[in-house]
């Protein structure tokens, strides 16, 4: 049974680029003699991303090459956490903390950190779902707390619990309603929550779509091209 593997802890993405997905299959255009162009494409898109990673060595590279190998050219899927560097600021997210406090994270209630000296990591507040939406829907309705009314066109969002998918706002309808792309991979209930740290399940698109070259001092030029695995496919095929 194929597995769903976690993203290596501490692996940062240097460069990420969305690529054209399966909508490009069988797409094209026909033109009339008067130059009226009709374009056509396949419906139903998927996210497809190319990630480049910064140079690394030592333990991080061991974790990286282990992760790439374990993905087996598409046989296994991986969780891909998205953190948008162009996302809302702390103030817009509704966080009352300085960047330094945000970086430091939170200690336990007795003031102690974890055994490795790290605190609990800071994460943006989540927002409730104001009305349910069915799978395949493209309109979501968020609650009014924190950043629920602050999103704009191009913002990434996701949902939890147990909802793998990355969505982008493509239209602000108003009062917490947004049109998103791609269509919802799983139905939303009012018990779910929205997050600006979405997690998507992805797999390598082929045996050749990742590399792990190692230079004299560093592993450099690391890239991986991943394609989205739909939420219900994860539950059907990658539940091992």
């Amino acid at each position: 049974m194929a597995r769903l593997i976690s993203w290596p802890v501490g692996l940062r993405v240097g460069n990420s680029e969305p690529l054209s997905g399966p909508r490009a299959v069988g797409s094209g255009a026909t033109g009339s003699i008067a130059n009226f162009n009709q374009t056509f494409s396949s419906p139903f898109g998927l996210w497809r991303w190319r990630f480049s990673f910064p140079s690394m060595n030592g333990q991080m590279f061991r974790r990286y090459r282990g992760w790439i190998t374990a993905l087996h050219g598409g046989a296994n899927a991986t969780r891909v956490p998205f953190c948008d560097p162009d996302g809302l600021t702390l103030a817009q997210l509704g966080v009352d903390a300085s960047p330094a406090e945000w970086q430091a994270g939170q200690p336990w209630s007795n003031g102690q950190s974890w055994a490795n000296g790290q605190n609990w990591q800071s994460s943006p507040p989540s927002v409730s779902i104001a009305s349910a939406a069915s799978q395949g829907g493209t309109i979501v309705h968020l609650g009014s707390e924190f950043w629920g009314l602050q999103l704009g066109v191009g913002d990434f969002l996701g949902f939890f619990p147990l909802h793998l998918g990355l969505y982008m706002v493509t239209e602000v309808i108003g009062s917490g309603r947004y049109r998103i792309w791609p269509p919802l991979r799983k139905e939303l209930t009012i018990a779910d929550s929205a997050t600006v740290r979405p997690t998507m399940a992805m797999k390598l698109e082929s045996e050749e779509s990742a590399n792990a070259p190692r230079g004299v001092a560093f592993a450099e030029g690391l890239t991986a091209t991943l394609v989205e695995v739909l939420d219900y496919d994860v539950k059907a095929y990658f539940a091992g």
Binding site: S20, P22, V25, Q38, T39, P43, T170, V227, L230
Partner: protein, 190 residues
Amino acid sequence: MTVFSQDELAVLSSPHVARAWFLELDLSDGLLRLHNGVGRITVGGRDWNGVTNPLGGQMVSLSNVEEPRFGQAVAVNITLSGANRAFLQTVHSTRREIEGRRADLYWAAFDGETGELLLGLKRLFPGKITSPVIHWQGIGSRLVNVTIESIWSGDNYPFGGRWNDADQRRRYPGDKGLQYVGVKVQEQWQ
């Protein structure tokens, strides 16, 4: 017979059309419903499984669909690849039963952004399955090739018959007028 109504033609003449083919195979172990997009979608009250390879290649390839006309036996070639072992085994063990079963090709158009159905399923090619061909290539390539013949293939003769003696006698019993059409006749004058 018009397949598309005026309203549907208006949808089809819009500047952008997102469309998919839907294939309903009546296999011996039940109906198999596939479409050449991605994901599981519900159209016409039925669930269809997407078999497009998300890499950009296609798991289902479809040859040109031609309009069935008199005098022309049309067929559509369908290639299912990337099929898993269980599916290949099913095809192999039921290949005799598959032959001659019903296979219908449908077509539908969707909204390019939301994936909503704009133009419902149109049965553009009702047909029968001929014997499936399984190709094995290398370690990873498995293809199932199915030819779907039009149900009109059996009506593969010109409308009204041919200009030969047999058809002339069928049209007008006893008429010998075309008795020597197409026959090389040698006459000798002495």
